[in-house]
């Protein structure tokens, strides 16, 4: 592999890993803090992509669509938490899995009714539609760089939110001892609702950002869901920092696996998971 190819593969790995992080961070937050196994998380990614498609066709601009779609996704998450997930905190994991699996089916059906089963495309905003030439026949699309930058900024933002703000302090405390936080007079229900809605918004944002490069199609959430769970497990349940590191590990393993060991491409991610879990059964960043 020559240097330019290597460099581009590194960029590919980073972009893929960072986008996965966006989905997985919400999953790990909800799982780690509220203890809910949410199989429907991939559906939120799909919802985001379809929102991007619908709003872009209405407004004609993806960035405007994201600006409109993000609060919508947040409200959608809050309503979902209020109506369904808030009843799950005290239930066991089996019941959570059943409900959230049912939600996947419902979301797919609603999607089918509302927009049909066709494949849709979303146009990349004019501003980012160029490509940077890197060798005589390969260029790197600017939009993929934009995705990476946005995801990095969000990772930083999440770190700041959780480590440096009062809300973050409450989130961290809530994940350790729900009753104690409640006893301190903090509205734990509101806190959970916010965290859940934030998780939904992050997954939807990932779907919206990915829509122009991945196209928008039925069932797009399921493959993302599986890989996100792998990331959450490798990173350590509940650790956002762990999710970031694990997502990057998976991004690199998948990308370089495809190129260097094409016969093992489908297995690579799971091999990495197996190795990491043998080394650290609780994930790379075990929650302290």
């Amino acid at each position: 592999m020559d240097f330019v190819s290597f460099l581009i593969q590194v960029l590919n790995s980073l972009q893929y890993g960072l986008l996965l992080f966006l989905v997985a961070s919400g999953l790990t937050l909800v799982f780690g803090i509220m203890g809910i196994i949410n199989l429907a998380h991939g559906s939120f990614y799909m919802v985001g992509a379809y929102l991007a498609f619908a709003l872009t066709s209405m407004t004609g601009n993806l960035m405007l669509a994201i600006a409109l779609g993000l609060p919508l996704a947040f409200v959608f998450g809050a309503i979902l938490e209020w109506a369904l997930f808030s009843h799950l905190y005290k239930r066991d994991h089996l019941e959570q899995v059943l409900l959230t699996y049912g939600l996947i089916l419902i979301f797919e059906e609603l999607r089918s009714l509302a927009v049909g089963d066709d494949v849709h495309g979303v146009t990349i905003p004019e501003l980012f539609s160029a490509s940077i030439p890197l060798s005589d026949n390969l260029s790197y699309p600017v939009y993929r760089l934009v995705i990476s930058v946005v995801c990095l900024a969000l990772a930083g933002g999440l770190y700041w939110l959780i480590q440096k703000t009062r809300l973050g302090m409450m989130i961290r405390a809530g994940s350790h001892d729900r009753d104690m936080v409640k006893a301190l007079g903090i509205d734990i229900n509101l806190l959970y609702r916010t965290v859940f809605a934030l998780g939904v918004a992050l997954a939807a944002l990932a779907g919206m950002l990915a829509a122009p490069i991945s196209s928008v199609y039925p069932g797009m959430g399921s493959s993302v869901l599986i890989i996100s769970f792998v990331i959450v497990v490798i990173g350590g349940v509940g650790s956002v920092w762990g999710a970031l590191v694990a997502a990057l590990v998976i991004g690199f393993a998948d990308t370089f696996g495809k190129v260097l060991l094409p016969d093992l491409a489908g297995l690579m991610v799971y091999l990495v998971m197996a190795v990491v879990l043998l080394w650290r059964p609780e994930g790379i960043f075990k929650k302290g």
Partner: protein, 384 residues
């Protein structure tokens, strides 16, 4: 309006002529009506029913009674669904389906129960290969056919060194094998075969790999969402300008709009194109548009032809009680006047058909020429 009126009158008169035959034929439609392939299942059903409607609601004088099952493209439910149609509903003929895995299970049920089966889409080579049977017919294609035709085209266009990309599942692998066979026979060389797990769509590493390999051309099999994403990514990576991309027709069927311009100019091969000029196709398209308020596609054609094949078989009975063996015998030698152009059936019961070379122009797969005339599937492994 005039045509519509005439059509209504014709439709009203035909049943009178055929009314003396009291026999019924039970058709079991086992197709996807939900999930990713729902629109394909609907198009096949529409096509089938359109032909029956054109015949005045009867096939060969037999009144058609439908039993319909949604197979959900789920192979794990396929055996049960097909058995239900055969044993509970007592259908005379099974028609289905889109998904190859489901069709393989249907073929097994058809073989075991000796029920007549017409496959209106699923292209797995096995169905008219090792798993062929006297009572199993296909109105569509085998995976091998369009890909093989493209192998020849790519070689003719002077490309020597090609990389292939597809999903690692049987249809993708069979497509690449068909392409490779023709391409290498014509002196080309497949430098590298790239596979990714279905339905993974993270192509970016492969695109970088392709750029560093610098082949003369790239051949792919993708369909649906994967096809859209691959073509867009290929364009965005700057490869479309330097390395021509070829595929079997599924790459650009039903996906052109979503590609948003990235598909413009792509060459693909399939047994149908958007602007065939034969009168049969024009009548078919007009009738379809009137009946269903949308444009037909290759899937509708395959459904339409499944009904045509069945009619040829039933005609031979001349109104007598349903006799499967006589129907099969007549179907085997049929010449089907299809909207895709007339075709006959191979010994393995797969269409021997023209494969067209098409080019994406605007929203259409425009006909460029005939890639292979009357191409028969080699049906390797079929003993019958």
């Amino acid at each position: 309006m005039m045509q519509l009126t005439l059509g209504v009158i014709a439709g009203a008169l035909v049943p009178l002529g055929a009314a003396q035959a009291a026999e019924k034929i039970k058709v079991g439609l086992m197709l996807p009506y939900t999930g990713t392939y729902a629109s394909l299942g609907t198009a096949i059903t529409n096509g089938f029913k359109q032909y029956v409607q054109e015949q005045g609601g009867k096939l060969g004088g037999y009144e058609v009674e439908y039993s319909v099952v949604d197979d959900e493209s789920d192979p794990s439910k396929a055996t049960e669904n097909a058995s239900k149609l055969v044993k509970r509903d007592n259908v005379d003929v099974l028609v289905g389906t889109v998904h190859s895995g489901v069709a393989l299970a249907m073929a097994k049920v058809a073989r075991d129960t000796k029920t007549l089966l017409i496959i209106p889409n699923a292209g797995a080579d096995e169905l008219t290969g090792p798993l062929c049977a006297p009572n199993v017919f296909r109105s569509s294609f085998s995976a091998w056919q369009p890909a093989y035709a493209m192998g020849k085209i790519v070689a003719e266009r002077g490309h020597k060194n090609v990389v292939t990309v597809t999903w690692k599942y049987s249809f993708g692998e069979q497509s690449v094998a068909g392409f490779k066979e023709a391409f290498e026979k014509a002196g080309g060389k497949v430098a590298k075969e790239l596979y990714l797990p279905f339905p993974n769509v993270e192509f970016q590493p492969f695109l970088t790999e392709i750029a560093s390999l610098k082949p003369d051309a790239v051949f792919v099999f993708f369909a649906g969402g994967g096809a859209v994403k691959f073509v867009k990514d290929y364009d965005a990576a700057g490869l479309k300008r330097t390395i021509p991309l070829y595929g079997s027709g599924f790459l650009t069927d039903g996906t052109i709009d979503a590609m948003g311009g990235s598909g413009e100019g792509l060459l693909t091969t399939l047994h149908y194109a958007d602007n065939l000029t034969n009168p049969k196709d024009q009548a078919f398209r007009k009738g379809y548009a009137v009946a269903y308020k949308m444009q037909p596609d290759v899937y509708a054609v395959q459904g339409y032809d499944a009904a045509q094949m069945l009619k040829t078989g039933l005609d031979a009975l001349k109104g007598a009680k349903f006799d499967k063996d006589a129907v099969i015998k007549a179907m085997e030698t049929a010449k089907i006047d299809s909207p895709r152009g007339a075709f006959t059936l191979s010994k393995a019961h797969n269409p021997v058909q023209d494969i067209y070379l098409r080019k994406v122009e605007g929203r259409d797969n425009k006909l460029v020429g005939v890639a292979e005339k009357a191409l028969a599937d080699p049906a390797r492994g079929c003993r019958m």
